[in-house]
Amino acid sequence: MVPTGYYLVLAAVIFGIGALGVLVRRNALIIFMCIEMMMNAVNLTLVALARHFGTLDGQVFVFLVMAIAAAEVAIGLGIVVGLVRHRDTTNVDRINLLRW
């Protein structure tokens, strides 16, 4: 058996990479993909801990997370498309009209 810890560490690393990506990357679509990555990392954590404790709670929660992720992507991409149409760029640094 692979020790549960390994899965948790992996999930943490994936989460970290995702968070870093959200903060650093400029392309809106890439940021979205990183957000998805973070959510997947969370899923992995949930499943690993579910197997560790022998319950099904974690597994069920994963389904909910995936549903929400899908819905969120649908709306988010809609916003991105509208934004790109308006500003002709996917570079989030250029979306700064609400500044001082």
């Binding site: 903060l23 979306i95 700064n96």
Partner: protein, 641 residues
């Protein structure tokens, strides 16, 4: 029963001034004058009624307090608005309303036509005329409040009120800078004295818990003031020097001549300036406790009398001569009350009211004839042109000089007698001043009225004044001549009348031979002064120049009124102005405004800095969120929920 109507004494002037204020412009000048004069006449009749009532009562009962209503009650501090009806206050009320009435009538004639350049344009004819009479009635109201007051607080209300009326009337022709300045000066100098009054009141209350006259001056209560009696006496003296124009606060009175002449007659000769003397007389039980303060009163009086008389000798403006004369004569009154001769002081107050008002109104008559000219060097030979004015003026001057058997002679002599009994030095100052008084009085008679006219154009146009002005002159002249009859030595009705007020503080003295001796000296001095004036101003005017040259620097000093005004300017006015300028421009504009504006500026600056958080960039916001989460996680891991 008249006592129930005593409040009418104050109500009539209120009615007069209110009616005139509202309807005056509509009524026109004649009705306004009649209403105002009628109001004062009404007060006079009430005062007369009170007098007759008191006269009918036995002596011990001649003190009545008529409380009108209760004003302030805070724990032990209780002040009523009321009238103190006793021989002294009723006598004063008669003088104030009697002379006041005559001056109101005279004013109708004097103020009829616009006087000063710019008056017509500044305000229009009728509204100014009405305003004048409103102010005059206001003055009478305030003076009566002062005189009939039953406690210190009410007296102070009247005290301040007459100061206000004085300011309004001195600066009546406000478009003249000199008049506006004079009004301000009068009010401010008076204010200095008022500090004395207020502090005295505080001390009195602190020591005794009472401010009501009848209450406080009971022998068992007044003792409480013994500890602070001298301080209180001196503080009240300070107040009196302001109101009654003595050293050091007399400087406003000569400037006050900028006001209309009837105002000078009423306020600055007959009534307001006597308030200080009255106040000292009223508080005589307090002064009885402090011989030190009384000595101060007498000394300041004597010195002021002397000092002012020297200045009067050198003045060329007819009204200024009379102004310094008033200061000098008030000094005599102070000398009287300061030596304990309260009746003598009040007697002189009464005779002075007559002859000084007469002299001022006479001067007004001369001004009326000469279109406002006041310089006696431009006058001359007016006795043929203005016979009634001349004759009444002559009577006034003679009374002032102390010509034997006229009113001024008796009152001045009574004061001099008391002065001698206190200290021959005081008497000496007084008698020398009397000589100068006689001289300057008759200078004011001889130079304008005798001899040849010095300015023919003015002389040509001169005409006698209308009866509305000359009749009051005649009435006052009768008073100035025969008024002394109420205070004849050995048979003084006034002495008898005022005794109930002063019996605890005055001692009857039987002067005998001394009195006749001093009286003879006074008579000789008065006649001598008149003769001296005759020699100097009629026989050989060059003598004046010779004397002045001989006096050299003394002459310059007196001509410039001892440079007192200049001294006050450097010592007091200019430093205060500098302080005011500093406070206004540096402390207020730069300091306080800077502080307030600074707060606003700092707030703005903070805003400027904080706004930078709004970058508009999603990335920044995401990063902030991230940092916040990290902090929270660390916190919960380390410290625990």
């Amino acid at each position: 029963m008249i006592v129930e109507y005593a409040w009418l004494l104050l109500a009539f002037p209120v009615l007069g001034l209110t009616l005139n204020l509202i309807f005056g412009a509509r009524w026109g000048k004649k009705t306004t004058g009649i209403v105002a004069s009628g109001a004062v006449l009404g007060s006079f009749l009430v005062a007369l009624g009170l007098f007759l009532h008191l006269n009918g009562l036995p002596e011990e009962e001649r003190t009545i307090e008529q409380v009108l209503w209760s004003w302030i009650t805070i724990d032990q501090f209780h002040v009523d608005i009321g009238l103190l009806i006793d021989p002294l206050s009723v006598f004063m009320a008669l003088v104030v309303t009697g002379v006041g009435f005559l001056i109101h009538v005279y004013s109708m004639g004097y103020m009829w036509a616009p006087h000063e350049k710019g008056e017509e344009e500044a305000m229009g004819d009728i509204p100014r005329f009405v305003r004048y009479f409103v102010y005059l009635n206001l003055f009478i109201l305030m003076m009566l409040t002062l005189v009939m007051a039953n406690d210190f607080v009410q007296m102070f209300i009247g005290w301040e009120g007459v100061g206000l009326a004085s300011y309004l009337l001195i600066g009546f022709w406000f478009f003249k800078p000199s008049a506006a300045d004079a009004g301000k000066k009068a009010f401010l100098v008076n204010r200095v004295g008022d500090v004395g009054f207020i502090l005295a009141m505080l001390f009195i209350f602190r020591l005794s818990g009472r401010l009501n006259f009848l209450d406080l001056f009971r022998p068992e209560n007044v003792q409480a003031l013994q500890v602070g009696a001298t301080t209180i006496g001196l503080l009240l003296l300070l107040a009196a020097t302001g109101k009654s124009a003595q050293i050091p606060l007399y400087v406003w009175l000569p400037d006050a001549m900028e006001g209309p002449t009837p105002v000078s007659a009423l306020i600055h000769a007959a009534t307001m300036v006597t308030a200080g003397v009255y106040m000292i007389a009223r508080t005589s039980p307090l002064y009885a406790l402090t011989p030190t303060a009384m000595t101060w009163v007498a000394t300041i009086g004597a010195l002021t009398a002397f000092f002012a008389a020297t200045i009067a000798l050198a003045q060329t403006d007819l009204k200024r001569i009379l102004a310094y004369s008033t200061i000098s004569q008030l000094g005599y009154m102070f000398l009287g009350v300061g030596t304990g001769a309260y009746v003598a002081g009040i007697f002189h107050l009464y005779t002075h009211a007559f002859f000084k008002a007469l002299l001022f109104l006479g001067a007004g008559s001369v001004m009326h004839a000469l279109h406002g000219e006041l310089d006696i060097r431009k006058m001359g030979g007016l006795k043929e042109k203005l016979p009634t004015t001349y004759k009444t003026f002559l009577v006034g001057a003679a009374a002032l000089a102390g010509f034997p058997l006229l009113s001024g002679f008796f009152s001045k002599d009574e004061i001099l007698l008391a002065a001698w009994q206190r200290s021959p030095i005081l008497w000496l100052i007084g008698i020398v001043t009397a000589f100068m008084t006689a001289t300057y009085s008759f200078r004011a008679v001889f130079v304008p009225f005798w001899g040849k006219p010095r300015n023919h154009k003015l002389y040509e146009h001169a005409h006698e004044s209308p009866p509305v002005m000359t009749v009051p002159l005649i009435i006052l002249a009768i008073g100035a001549a025969f008024g002394g009859v109420i205070g004849l030595p050995k048979a003084s009705w006034l002495h008898h009348w005022l005794m109930p007020v002063f019996e605890h503080v005055m001692h009857e003295s039987e002067p005998g031979a001394l009195m006749w001796g001093l009286m003879t000296v006074s008579a000789l001095v008065a006649l001598g002064g008149i003769y001296f004036a005759y020699e100097l101003f009629v026989v050989n005017p060059d003598r004046v120049l010779r004397i002045r040259r001989a006096l050299g620097p003394v002459d310059t000093l007196v001509q410039h009124r001892y440079y007192v005004d200049e001294l006050y300017m450097t010592l007091v006015v200019n430093p205060l102005k500098a302080l005011a300028d500093w406070l206004a421009y540096v402390f207020d504009q730069r300091g306080i405004d800077g502080l307030v504006n600074g707060v606003a500026w700092v707030t703005g600056w903070i805003g400027q800095q904080v706004r930078r958080v709004q970058t508009g960039r999603v990335g920044t916001y995401a990063f902030t969120l991230f940092v916040g989460v990290v902090i929270l996680v660390v916190y919960f891991v380390l410290v625990g929920g």
